[in-house]
Amino acid sequence: MAGGAATGGSAAADTYKSARHWLLLPSWLVLVLVVLAPVCMMLIYSFLTKEFRGGVIWEPTLAAYDQFFFDRGLFGDDPPKIEWTYITIFWRSIWQAGLATILSLIIGFPTAYFIATRPERTRALWVFLVTIPYWVNLLIRTVSMKFLLRDQGPMNDFLISTGLIDDPLRIVNTNLAVQLGLFYSYLPFMVLPIYASVERYNFAMSEAAADLYATKWTTLRRIVLPAVKPGVIAGCILVFVPSLGAFLAPDLLGGAKNFMIGSLIEEQFKGNAGNWPFGAAAAMVLLTMVLILLMIFARQQRRAEASP
């Protein structure tokens, strides 16, 4: 089975047993210092009282979460109703990130499959080509994308000169531009894990399926996809999660007209609001959502592995 590699090599695992703790120490340090400590700080901050114009007062309160979930009107003294503002913002971000993920999957899967089925000596070159855009800073790539797409930009000039359209396509400052930006930014994160899975796939199994009169579609659906599913899931997570918190593409390509999760949180720390506990609370809600999502994926995967 293709999944066999994951459990292999127990004898080799013992080689460094005596030094294990020391060898793991750097990883643990990094995890605690740059992952756990900041998250704990955010968690604590989200339960503190806001200081006017940024900062926190060390008095515990639920005010930040109250602001997130309850609407008390413009002046804060109406009877509380469900607050839809932030739910709308979160839903908009999830929708954008979801579309970007699906778009990446549609383009990324065939690309990865293509690369993995090339002769072995050219595969490295293809992978290398996929990573080339990463030599350029994300900000510059996003600005370039805006330049290409804008109403009086090269793409519209070209389309008009060929006579395909009469009026420029309005793409910049729309949701479509944001999705294109996210898709373009994170596509390699989809291609590379799927490529790694497809490369390990034993194509003799496809041949066997064909010998047993499976159609190409059935082979893809019942043989290839289940075998490369871990790569597909990893790719989807790697595209979806950063898209969810992105604020560069929404700001530059979407015109910053509507808050996304990322820009809402940014506004609390860098904007006029200066409401650090609320920014921390919004970040914790986002983190909780992502964790739940990952747990659902993990559980499904375990169930798939457990089933015969």
Binding site: A256, F259, F269, G271, N272, A273, N275
Partner: protein, 345 residues
């Protein structure tokens, strides 16, 4: 133990080298983007032997946040706008400049020597001042542009093609001018009217961009947009049809100021730098670059002659009053934050 000993020695050597460099003089500036010519910084280094390092920010609020989140003790000087000087002083972030410390303090123009946001200039010196209004591409719309209706009740040619600054203070202050209500109002009817105005105007606005406020006008992404006067002058150099408006309802005036930060690691360098910027020739170089006005006397001979007649810096006779953005108290600011969130939700 040996490697550890060697590491300690290396660290000590590095520490010594670092402090040696500090003795020769360093200066760490926290400044707006695209706001000081590199030539001027080179000139300062050539005159004083002080090495200059600069980080940049794109709004008063992000600068304040960075300083409060651990940036104090890193920077020597920053360049906050008028209301932000007052806020920073209130937060205890600013060091006091003693009398006589600045040799060139007398060069400050009388009208800027005792501003409301820093009485007596205890913490700050003038850097540049100007206005925040909006510009219109006169090729797209040729009617009267000197009214805030352009932003809040636009003609058909401009509807849906307006860029706003992504800055709560300046947008809400301009909206208050349009409605003729005070900034930091506590009157509920006025605040509701302000909220309604922004909700109704939003469909006419295509984007909220501050750092690309010039570029969106030049590229044609927006046909009208809020902008600072000097930025608009630069835009006009690239596209002649971009015209800056001084609305009859009034417009926002601002002044950026160099402030001495508390816990400045190189306080002496900071004082030298402030004195350097108080020399008319040097601050004129900033104005020639940034296209804003300075706050000193005796700069006229060093200024680019074109600045004196710059249409962006010389309001027409019918222009309304220029007003500073006000810093509201906490309870009032909470309502304004809510209005801003409603706008962008």
């Amino acid at each position: 133990m040996k490697p550890i000993k060697r590491m300690t020695q290396t660290a000590m050597a590095l520490a010594l080298m670092a402090s040696g460099a500090a003795a020769e003089g360093d200066l760490v500036i926290y400044h707006w983007f695209e706001y000081i010519p590199q030539d001027l910084l080179d000139k300062f280094t050539a005159e004083t032997g002080i090495n200059v390092t600069m980080d940049t920010y794109d709004s008063n609020e992000s600068m304040l946040a960075a300083l409060k989140a651990g940036g104090m003790g890193t920077y020597d000087v920053a360049v906050p706008g008028d209301y932000m000087v007052k806020i920073m002083a209130g937060e205890g972030l600013l060091d006091t400049i003693a009398d006589g410390e600045l040799a060139n303090k007398g060069n400050i123009a009388p009208e800027w020597a005792d501003p409301s946001f820093d009485p007596g200039r205890k913490h700050s010196i003038p850097y540049q001042w100007g206005s925040t209004s909006f510009s219109v591409d006169s090729d797209v719309y040729s009617g009267d542009i000197n009214t805030t209706d352009i932003l809040f009740n636009p003609p058909a040619e401009l509807a849906g093609k307006i860029n706003m600054l992504d800055a709560q203070g300046e947008v809400l202050a301009t909206a208050a001018l349009h409605l003729g209500i005070p900034q930091c109002s506590t009157d509920r009817e006025q605040l509701k009217a302000l909220n309604d105005l922004l909700q109704a105007s939003k469909d006419n606005w295509v984007s909220f961009n501050s750092d690309t406020a010039k570029e969106v006008l030049v590229s044609g992404d927006a046909a009208a947009g809020m902008i600072w006067d000097g930025f608009s002058a630069k835009a006009r150099e690239e596209k002649a049809s971009i015209t800056y408006a001084f609305p009859t309802q009034g417009y926002v005036v601002w002044m950026d100021n160099v402030v001495l930060l508390n816990d400045a690691p190189n306080r002496d360098s900071a004082i030298k730098f402030m004195d350097f910027l108080l020399e008319p020739e040097n601050i004129a170089a900033v104005s020639n670059f940034a296209r804003y006005a300075d706050g000193l006397t005796g700069t006229a001979e060093f200024l680019d002659p074109a600045l004196a007649t710059l249409p962006e810096a010389n309001p027409h006779d019918g222009a309304g009053p220029g007003v500073f953005v006000e810093a509201c108290d906490e309870a009032t600011q909470a309502v304004y934050d809510q209005i801003w969130t409603n706008l962008k939700k």
